[in-house]
């Protein structure tokens, strides 16, 4: 599985972390100061990269968390059928079908950038 372990303290806004088994992009990171008898806690809020769902975790800064290794890839649109586009990966030449995100204008020959993690893809 493409993920690595890090300590909570190493996370930062804009990076990725696994929350509830889903890869999320961190949009908020704050720390609570420790008391005399406790360790500092961090709060991480983020959104699922592929499902857009808001998630959060609150853990000691030295706790271990999983960080997903998300590939950023280049593709070329081969054809467009309704809401779906057939895309060819410019690195592996693998072709696949993906749903065209709302507001995006895909046309054959255009190049796109997308994120891929364990079979999930999302246009950047």
């Amino acid at each position: 599985m493409a993920k690595q372990q890090k300590q909570v303290r190493e996370l930062q806004e804009g990076s990725y972390v696994m929350m509830d088994s889903a890869p999320c992009k961190i949009n908020h990171y704050s720390t609570a100061k420790p008391g005399k008898h406790g360790s500092a806690k961090a709060r991480v809020e983020g959104r699922g990269v592929f499902d857009g769902k808001k998630r959060s975790l609150s853990q000691p800064v030295d706790a271990k968390v999983w960080v997903p290794i998300i590939d950023r890839k280049q593709g070329q649109v081969v054809s467009v059928t309704g809401d779906d586009a057939q895309v060819m990966d410019l690195d592996t030449y693998e072709t696949f079908t993906m749903r065209i995100p709302d507001g995006e204008d895909f046309s054959p020959e255009s190049e796109i950038e997308y994120l891929e993690y364990e079979g999930n893809r999302k246009v950047v």
């Binding site: 704050s30 609570a32 100061k33 406790g38 709060r43 959060s56």
Partner: protein, 269 residues
């Protein structure tokens, strides 16, 4: 743990968080002991609420313990609002035990209500107090950065600047003698947050608080407000309890919390 708050976090309809912030108290300190005092003096209350025919321990209340406080109020409010926001995201009602009144700003941020209702002796509408905009004396002003409207029940003191701010359309002040006749009139789709500053009560009933103000509310008047607002409230707190009495303030705070939960739960049935 607050007595009867035995639900698991994942099953909770109400999540209690202690917020022992005590850094800007301007007269008698000790609000840091509020959460523990409230829990302790609630031990004598019956689990069964006869009026609503419910057991408190059946109402899915979870006590998440305290969020240790530190010296940066703005940072603390931000972190606390995130913790309380988790409860909101899980469709639970966050309940904060203060701590100084500043912690209310976190609950309000988490709930993002249209209307803020507050039982309080003070207007708390200063833009800053001694240069500190996060002082407990400014909380209603801070809350109005999030909520559209504030209703302060039982207020009986404030500075000229505060009374001037209270005259604006987004603030309603109900004097102690008029609270018994006050009826909430919220729009059906309005989100409401209810805050109880224990100093809204007359000091004779709740001497354990940082800034006592005579000519206040009776416990029954406060109870009636809590019962009236609870069905519409998406968040609740009770604040400014300290350890400078024999438990009267904490006892009243704990009982008002139970009234809130019982009424809110009964209204959902």
């Amino acid at each position: 743990m607050f007595p009867g708050a035995t639900a698991e976090r994942s099953d909770a309809n109400f999540v209690i968080v202690g917020a022992p912030l005590d850094i800007s108290t301007s007269f008698q300190p000790g609000a840091r002991f509020g959460p523990d005092r409230i829990r302790k003096y609630a031990e004598t209350f019956d689990d069964f609420d006869r009026r609503t025919d419910q057991f408190f321990s059946d109402l899915s209340v979870h006590d998440a313990g305290d969020l240790h406080a530190w010296s940066d109020a703005a940072e603390y409010v931000e972190f606390l609002s995130g913790e309380l926001g988790d409860a909101v995201r899980d469709d639970a009602v966050p309940i904060t035990l203060g701590g100084e009144h500043t912690v209310t700003a976190a609950g309000v941020r988490a709930v993002d209500p249209d209307v803020f209702v507050c039982l309080d002796a003070h207007l708390d509408l200063r833009s800053d107090y001694a240069g500190d905009e996060w002082s407990h004396a400014c909380v209603t002003r801070r809350v109005l950065d999030t909520a559209d409207e504030a209703i302060v029940l039982g207020a009986r003191t404030g500075s000229p600047e505060e009374w001037e701010r209270a005259d604006e359309d987004d603030v309603t002040v109900v004097a102690p003698e008029d609270v018994a006749d006050w009826d909430p009139e919220f729009d059906a789709d309005s989100s409401v947050y209810l805050s109880v500053d224990i100093d809204g009560a007359d000091p004779g009933f709740a001497p354990g608080t940082g800034t006592m103000e005579p000519f206040g509310l009776t416990p029954r008047e406060m109870r009636d407000v809590v019962r009236a607002v609870a069905p519409a409230a998406d968040g609740f707190d009770v604040v400014e309890v300290n350890d400078r009495d024999d438990g009267q303030a904490a006892s009243l705070a704990g009982k008002l919390l139970k009234e809130f939960v019982c009424e809110r739960a009964a209204s959902n049935e």
